[in-house]
C-alpha cells in the first residue's frame, strides 16, 4: 500500500496539450475516482500513473519514490482494463498467475495465491477454463483477480464496467467497493459514469479538457459544485440552469417569473446577470410558484420525472426544466403546474465563466 502524489503533471502530443497541469494527492488506502466526459484526459492520466504513457512535464510519485522514469513493471501497480485484456491462450489460473510466473515464483506459491484470489472473487470452479468460455462479468472478475494476486501498492481501473450490461454493472460496483473495503489498497479508478463515481469513491476528481474542475468527497461535489460544469456533470438527472438576473425579491428568470433565492443574496449583487441552478429533485410542485407547462411525464415507479417549460415558450430547450418527484403525479402533458425550487438547495453561477457565486 502506498500514497500517490501527482504534481503539476502535463501531457502533450506535439503541440496538442491533453493534460494541462494536474495535481492530486491520493492518501494511502484511498479510493479515488477520476471522472469526466470522454476526451478529458482522465484515461491518459491513469496510463501515466501506470507508466504506459510518458509524462511530458511534472512528477508522479508512488509512496516516496518518483516514478517518472520507472518501468511499469517496477512500479508495483496492477491495472484492470476496459476490455479486460485477458490472455486468450491461457487458462484463468494461468492468467491470474502470469505475473508471479514472470517473477519466477515457485509453483506452490503461485497456486496458493491464485486460489486465494479466486476464493475472494468466487472464481474457484472456473480456474481451468479459458477466457472465451466466460461471461462478461466473470471475465471482469478474472481481470480483478489478476490484479489481486500481485498484491500491488496501487490498483488502477480504466473504465472497468463500461462493457457490462446495466444490471451487472450495479452488481460489480458493489463487488469492487467491497473488495476495496476488504483489501484497503490505494485505488485510482477512471470512469465517465458519474453514478459510479458518486457511489464508490472516497474522493472524486472531476476533469474536463485536461484540467481538474473540482476535487472532493462525493457529497461535497453534489452540495457545493465549484462551477457549472461540475454542477451539470454530477447528479442524475443533471441540474437545471436558468438564465436571468438577481433581483431584490428573488431571481428574475429570462423566461419570466421570480424564483426564490433564500434571502442570502448580498444587496450589492442585485441587478447582476447570473445563472440559477437547481437540481430536479429540489423542485416541488404546489399551489404557489412559477407556472410551467408539462411537456413529458416519465414515471419509473419509485419516482416521477417531468419535463416542463415556462408558459408561453414553445421550444423545450429554451428554459426547459427537469423535475424529479418522489410522489406519483396525476398531471397530464399540456397542463399547467406551479413549481417552487427549495431555496436552501439552489446554486448561483456567474453567467460568463460559470463559477459559483
Amino acid at each position: 500500500m502506498a500514497s500517490v502524489s501527482i504534481k503539476n503533471v502535463r501531457k502533450s502530443y506535439g503541440p496538442l496539450e491533453i493534460i494541462k497541469g494536474v495535481s492530486i494527492d491520493i492518501q494511502d488506502g484511498e479510493f479515488v475516482i477520476l471522472v469526466g466526459p470522454s476526451g478529458c484526459g482522465k484515461s491518459t492520466l491513469l496510463r501515466m500513473i501506470a507508466g504506459l504513457e510518458e509524462i511530458s512535464n511534472g512528477e508522479i510519485a508512488i509512496g516516496d519514490r518518483v516514478v517518472n522514469e520507472v518501468l511499469p513493471k517496477e512500479r508495483d501497480i496492477a491495472m484492470v482494463f476496459q476490455n479486460y485484456a485477458l490472455y486468450p491462450h491461457m487458462t484463468i489460473a494461468e492468467n491470474m498467475g502470469f505475473s508471479l510466473k514472470l517473477k519466477k515464483a515457485d509453483k506452490g506459491e503461485i497456486l496458493s495465491k491464485v486460489t486465494r484470489a479466486a476464493e475472494i472473487l468466487g472464481l474457484g470452479p472456473l480456474l481451468e477454463r479459458f477466457p472465451r468460455q466466460l461471461s462478461g462479468g466473470q471475465r471482469q472478475r478474472v481481470a480483478m483477480g489478476r490484479a489481486i494476486v500481485r498484491d500491488p501498492k496501487v490498483f488502477l481501473f480504466d473504465e472497468p464496467l463500461s462493457n457490462l450490461d446495466a444490471k451487472l454493472r450495479v452488481q460489480m460496483r458493489t463487488e469492487i467497493k467491497e473488495m476495496h473495503q476488504r483489501l484497503k489498497t490505494t485505488t485510482v479508478y477512471v470512469t465517465h459514469d458519474q453514478i459510479e463515481a458518486m457511489t464508490m469513491a472516497d474522493k472524486i476528481v472531476v476533469m474536463h479538457d485536461g484540467i481538474i474542475e473540482q476535487m472532493g468527497a462525493p457529497l461535497d461535489l453534489y452540495d457545493k459544485p465549484a462551477n457549472m460544469f461540475v454542477a451539470g456533470f454530477i447528479g442524475s438527472p443533471s441540474m437545471n440552469f436558468i438564465k436571468g438576473k438577481i433581483a431584490a425579491e428573488g431571481f428574475a428568470a429570462e423566461a419570466g417569473g421570480i424564483l426564490p433565492l433564500g434571502g442570502n443574496v448580498p444587496a450589492a449583487s442585485v441587478g447582476r446577470p447570473a445563472v440559477y441552478g437547481v437540481r430536479p429533485e429540489h423542485i416541488q410542485i404546489g399551489d404557489e410558484g412559477v407556472p410551467h407547462e408539462v411537456v413529458v411525464i416519465e414515471p419509473t415507479g419509485s419516482e416521477t420525472q417531468m419535463i416542463l417549460r415556462p408558459v408561453g415558450q414553445t421550444t423545450p430547450q429554451k428554459g426547459g426544466l427537469t423535475c424529479l418527484l418522489r410522489e406519483r403525479i396525476s398531471a397530464k402533458p399540456g397542463e399547467i403546474v406551479k413549481i417552487a425550487p427549495n431555496p436552501a438547495m439552489i446554486h448561483l453561477f456567474d453567467h460568463e465563466d460559470g463559477r459559483r457565486l
Partner: protein
Amino acid sequence: MNVRKIVNKLGLAVCVFLLVSPALLFFIWMLSLSLKFEIDNGAYPPILIPERFAWKNFTGVFESNSFLLYFWNSIIVTGSATIFALIVGVPAGYGIARLKAHKSAVVIMIARMTPGLSFLIPLFLLFQWMGLLGTLWPQIIIHLVVTVPIVIWVMIGYFETTPMELEEAAMIDGATRWEIFAKVAMPIAKPGIVVAFILSVIFSWNNFVFGIVLASRETRTLPVAVYNMLSFEQVSWGPLAAAALIVTLPVLILTVAAQRQIVAGLTAGAVKGG
C-alpha cells in the same frame, strides 16, 4: 417467390461456372492427359475420358531416379526458405506492426515486386564467384526474396489486430519486451503463423524463374524438372501431365485443406477482429 429463388440459384451457378472454368478446365484436361495413352492425345474429336487408363504415365515418373532427387531438392529449398523466413519474418512483422513502421513495410513490398530477372543475373555471378553454384544454397537464399516478404506481410496484419491492451497488461505484469513477444503476442498470432507458413510453402514450391536460372542438373527443383521434360523433338504429353500433377499435388492438397485460414490470413487487418 419459389421460382425466383431457383432462377437466382441457377444464375449464381452459371456465373460461378464461368468464373471458375478457366482454372478448372485446364486442370481437368491435365488430369485427362495424364491418364491417356499417347495415341489418344492427338485424337479428334478429343477424348476426355479414355477407355483404358495409362497408369504407367505416373509410375514412369517415379521410376526415373532423378525425379525423386528433384522432389527432395524441392523439399529442401522450400523447407529451408520457409523456416528461415519464419524465423526472420515473424519478429520483423511484429516490430513493424508495433512501431507502425509502414515505410519499411513498403520497402519490403518493393523488394517483393521487383522482377526476379533484374537481380538474378548479378546474383548468379555472385554465387559463381562464391563457388555456391551446383549446391542448393543459391536457390534457398533467393527463395527468401519470395518467402520473407509474404511472412512479414501476413504477420503485420495479424499483429496489428491483437489488442494493444494485452501487451500493456503483460508489461504491467512484469514482462520484458521479449517476453511479451514470446509469451503473449506470438501465441495469440499462431493462426497467422500457420497461414504465413502455408503461403510461403506454396509460393516457394511453385517458383520457376529462380530455379531455371540457378539450378544445375543435380539441383533442379520440381517445376524446373517438369519443364525440362519438354524437348525439341517430341513432347510426350502423358508423362508430362502426370509429372505436372504430381508436382502440383502437395500444394493443391495444402490449399484445399487450409483455404479458410488462407483467406482469413490474406484479409487480416482489413476488418477489425477479422
